[in-house]
């Protein structure tokens, strides 16, 4: 880089990479976020891709995007609007123009802006000309220059063009004063057996970097200084990987084999894939013939003494309904992970929503209570997956862990925990040859039964979906017994709250507005509350991870505030849940059902409006 560049210091920047779903935008975005994280920025990312693997090229339906937000202070969301947009074709520009700040820099691949492509994308005239004053366009002949750059390589045309995303990445690296070495290293690791591909990618990356340095069209370059974050060892992690690892960590801590029975479903599949990779850690995965077999094999594995898990998304959870009831009835430990997506039915497979809350809480035949918890950031998926497993084992119950497409696919730096950071897990195993063993005898504290596992001598017993006699576990149709067992099942789950930490308020104790949320909306809600508090307004955030049972101090905290708003990506399911369970609870609601996360701006507007209302 030449020394006379003037670097502009910026606190935070949002970049959005977008192109055809085959253009490699996810990889490009991940590379930029890894490099920024190594550089010491705090980062939050969000991939946004279509449900179709390869929708027709050049159409808006086939646009795949990756947004990332990095800063030199704490970053809690991938950002609302982009400072820089990379649009590899007109469709990408069409799809993203609404998500770009006025005055933003837009890098386009000039070669793709032909009349035909503009028409395919739905533009009636050339948008670059039309918006000349609104944005700073950098038109680069990315395809031409990539081809030129690799003309002496013995690669076919398709492989050559596949590297054009690296040209764009090189340009953006220059724009933000980033080193190339991490991405170069990435290629060396990824393509060890294909030296030609390594060289080609490295060369195109550098060409993009140099191009940006050379052309006059780039008048500015930004620098975002490293963030001030807590000391420790970090890595980037997505919510789905964190979920898989949290489950493995729990199995290790509990000293039990981990079994996962699942059926692939967007956006939960990556959890199952990561667990399948972890045979080195002894994980057994079973790709079942359907969602029902997924949970049923897991129930079988739980009966046989494993830490058993099934992973799914909303429609899959619906298919698992009956078997979940069986796990409730047989009081076996089981973790059900539901990565929520837009619904109902097939709905919006690749988009996010929080609309499975009531299904998780109540979606079973009969009265079948279980524990429902939710993760709220990509990295704390690890903590809550671990906790889901711990609660399932220690309380002999199925636990539903809710995450969502936004935090599952999003990533952020994760401060790696030490072994001592997570608690021991006490598995309530029965004692072999215990002559007094009864399968449905409960302990007084938690009301749980003891777990006797096939192979344990002298504890042979039968369980099943039919109502069980108290203590003996024999089939029973005795009317009073059914009522007793129904109450036991209810009380057993309610008592789990005694083992939850109290929920903590963030913000002003005497807030004029209490913002209430749960699960994956944390980053946006927290950022909006923080921004308004900076402006001198009095707000607080009460964000829930424990959904059933609710934390013990819920009623007390809610009672302290007059004005409350529950914000969720659904029609108000958590607000209704609170109304049912907290006496006299009343609230405003703010709901969004667009398959997208909240934006900080829309939240701030809503909160301001509520603060002004008397």
């Amino acid at each position: 880089m030449s020394t006379n560049d003037i670097l502009k210091e910026k606190e935070q920047v949002v970049i959005r990479f977008s192109g055809d779903s085959g253009d490699g935008m996810q990889l490009t975005g991940m590379q930029f976020s890894d490099t920024s994280a190594f550089f010491g920025n705090d980062v939050s990312t969000f991939p946004d891709y279509p449900a179709e693997i390869r929708a027709p090229q050049g159409t808006v339906g086939g646009v795949s995007g990756f947004q990332l937000h990095f800063g030199h202070y704490e970053v809690n969301t991938p950002g609302d609007y982009a400072d820089v947009l990379v649009a590899m074709n007109p469709a990408a520009l069409m799809a993203n123009l609404n998500w770009v700040k006025k005055g933003a820099t837009i890098i386009t691949n000039e070669d793709t802006f032909t009349d035909k492509n503009l028409e395919k994308a739905g533009f009636e005239s050339n948008p670059i000309k039309d918006h000349q004053r609104d944005y700073h366009f950098i038109e680069a002949p990315i395809s031409t220059l990539t081809k030129e750059c690799l003309k002496n390589f013995e690669l076919d045309g398709k492989s050559v063009l596949r590297t054009k995303n690296m040209f764009a990445l090189g340009m953006v690296y220059w724009l933000f004063d980033r080193p190339l070495k991490y991405t170069e290293h990435f290629f060396e690791e990824k393509f060890t057996s294909k030296p030609l591909v390594i060289e080609a990618n490295k060369k195109v990356l550098r060409a993009g970097f140099n191009f940006a340095n050379t052309i006059e069209a780039l008048p500015r370059s930004y620098k975002v200084a490293p963030a001030r974050i807590q000391p420790g060892t970090y890595r980037n992690i997505s919510g789905n990987t964190a979920t898989a690892w949290g489950l493995i960590a729990a199995a290790e801590k509990a000293n039990l084999p981990l079994f996962c029975g699942s059926y692939p479903i967007t956006p939960a599949t990556e959890i199952f894939q990561e667990l399948s990779r972890r045979k080195d850690m002894g994980v057994k995965t079973f790709q079942a013939e359907d969602e029902i077999a997924g949970i049923c094999t897991a129930i079988g594995a739980a009966f046989a003494g494993n830490l058993a898990v099934t992973t799914t998304s909303g429609p899959g959870l619906a298919l698992k309904t009956e078997a979940t009831g069986l796990a409730v009835m047989t009081e076996l430990p089981l973790v059900i992970v539901n990565v929520q997506r837009g619904g109902p039915s097939t709905g919006l497979p690749t988009k996010t929503e929080q609309s499975d809350l009531l299904q998780a809480l109540h979606g079973r035949s009969g009265e079948a209570p279980l524990v429902v918890i939710a993760a709220s950031t990509p990295s704390n998926c690890f903590d809550f997956a671990f906790q889901a497993a711990r609660l399932a084992l220690e309380h002999m119950t199925p636990v539903i862990l809710l995450t969502d497409g936004f935090i599952a696919n999003g990533s952020e730096p994760w401060r790696l925990p030490l072994d001592s950071d997570y608690p021991d897990i006490h598995v309530p195993h029965a004692t072999p040859e215990d002559e007094n063993y009864q399968p449905y005898k409960r302990n007084n504290e938690k009301l749980i039964r003891q777990w006797a596992i096939p192979g344990m001598k002298g504890l042979e017993h039968r369980i099943g979906g039919l109502e069980k006699m108290d203590k003996t576990g024999n089939v029973s149709y005795v009317p009073e017994n059914h009522e007793l067992m129904t109450r036991y099942r209810d009380e057993k789950i309610k008592r789990v709250a005694q083992y939850f930490p109290d929920i903590k308020l963030k913000g002003d104790e005497n807030a004029d507005l209490l913002v209430i949320g749960w699960g994956g909306t944390y980053g946006h809600l927290y950022s909006a509350v923080k921004e308004l508090r900076k402006q001198g307004k009095k707000l607080a955030l009460l964000h829930f991870n424990h959904l059933w049972p609710l934390p013990r101090n819920t009623e007390e905290i809610l009672g302290r505030f007059d004005k409350k708003v529950v914000c969720e990506l659904n029609m108000g399911q958590f607000a209704d849940h609170l109304k049912v369970n907290i006496p006299h609870f009343e609230c405003e609601k703010f709901n969004k059902m667009q398959g997208l996360p909240f934006t900080i701006i829309e939240l701030m507007n809503k909160f301001n409006q509520l603060l002004e209302e008397k």
């Binding site: 190594f38 010491g40 991490y182 974050i229 807590q230 000391p231 420790g232 060892t233 970090y234 890595r235 980037n236 690892w245 493995i248 960590a249 290790e252 084999p257 079994f259 029975g261 045979k279 080195d280 850690m281 002894g282 057994k284 079973f286 079942a288 013939e289 029902i292 077999a293 049923c296 094999t297 129930i299 079988g300 594995a301 739980a302 009966f303 046989a304 003494g305 494993n306 058993a308 009956e322 078997a323 069986l326 047989t330 790696l416 925990p417 072994d419 096939p454 192979g455 344990m456 001598k457 504890l459 042979e460 017993h461 039968r462 369980i463 099943g464 979906g465 039919l466 024999n474 089939v475």
Partner: protein, 340 residues
């Protein structure tokens, strides 16, 4: 001090629960056969897990003193698959009816067989839904009149053997409820076979489908209407042992032995270990009155099991694993330090 281990007897496998099948139900005899087989196999009670779905036959686990799981309708094969994969040391037996295995549970049934998980499936086939009081099942013969087919069914039934072999089944046998000796022998062979083994038991529902297999159980004619196949033996049957099966072109044919005509040496020799499923499918599909119904072990071939493969793969990968613990895993790859 050495403790003498007493060999268990069939009644040691009985639980203390009152058996509640209808008087005269074929299930009683099947349970006797299973208990006899388990005693013969010298099974430790704690190592046995009996998994069932829903239906009359699926009450079975409650009447056994082993570990047992009475699950939900159709899902026995999936639950049994999970049990066996989680702990391959267990003897996992599955009890399902024709509806449980082939209607609501059809998907799990064929996929368990395809995977060749080492579970022993016993299908109680009474060609009717008994627990819901008499509706037709996927094995009810075409035209059968039941409560949901008052004018006769218009559906073609599944033939369990054909379905099992079509799902790449490695072991298929057929027996008949009242024949405790034959059933016991077959259950022992089933248990010894590694991989998914399916035994179809022709079972009488005394209330809703009484006499459904009467053609084959009738004292006078049963030996003329069934053939007990034994590996390595000629396909000879009949009260007078005067009939047998030959291959005529691409078809099986029943022939009568006579001096100067067909002799025993012309008859097919049963080879249960033949990989090619062609003849096994034909044998499994033989139906009275054109043919005798085949009993005994029709197909019994060896192949690697799913549970073994899973365990072997994990062992192999673990040996060369970079990661021995969670700590190794999370600190692997691209990490960075933030200092004070």
């Amino acid at each position: 001090m050495t403790q003498e281990i007493k060999k268990l007897t069939p009644k040691d496998y009985k639980s203390d629960q009152e058996v509640r099948w209808c008087p005269g139900c074929g299930d009683y005899a099947i349970m006797n056969s299973i208990q006899k087989a388990m005693a013969e196999l010298d099974y430790k009670k704690e190592d046995v897990a009996i998994i069932s779905g829903i239906g009359c036959s699926s009450r079975f686990p409650y009447y056994m003193s082993t570990y047992g799981f009475h699950s939900i309708h159709g899902r026995a094969a999936a639950i049994a698959s999970g049990v066996k994969t989680a702990n391959p040391n267990l003897h996992v037996w599955q009890i399902s009816g024709d509806g449980d295995a082939m209607a609501i549970g059809g998907n799990h049934f064929i996929h368990a067989i395809r995977r060749n998980i080492d579970i022993n499936m016993i299908i109680f086939n009474n060609e009717i839904y008994g627990l819901t009081k008499g509706q037709y099942s996927p094995t009810s013969p075409l035209g059968k009149k039941t409560k949901t087919s008052p004018f006769g069914t218009v559906e073609h039934p599944f033939h369990p053997g054909e379905l099992v072999i079509g799902s790449q089944g490695k072991f298929f046998a057929r027996t008949i409820d009242y024949n405790v000796k034959l059933s016991t022998d077959i259950f022992i062979l089933m248990a010894k076979h590694k991989g998914t083994s399916v035994v179809e038991v022709l079972q009488n529902c005394v209330i809703y489908n009484d006499g459904c297999h009467a053609m084959l159980t009738d004292k006078e004619h049963k030996e003329d209407r069934t053939i007990v196949l034994k590996h390595g033996e000629r396909m000879l049957f009949g009260k007078e042992k005067d009939r047998g099966i030959i291959l005529d072109g691409l078809k099986l044919r029943v022939v009568k032995l006579s001096p100067g005509g067909f002799t025993e040496n012309d008859l097919l020799v049963h080879d249960a270990h033949e990989n090619n499923p062609g003849i096994h499918t034909m044998l499994a599909n033989m139906r009275y009155p054109d043919y005798p119904v085949a009993l005994g072990v029709i197909r019994d071939i060896t192949s690697v099991t799913y549970d073994e493969s899973v365990a072997n793969q994990i062992d192999k990968i673990k040996k060369n694993a970079k990661f021995k613990s969670m700590r190794d895993l999370i600190y692997s790859g691209n990490t960075w330090e933030i200092k004070e």
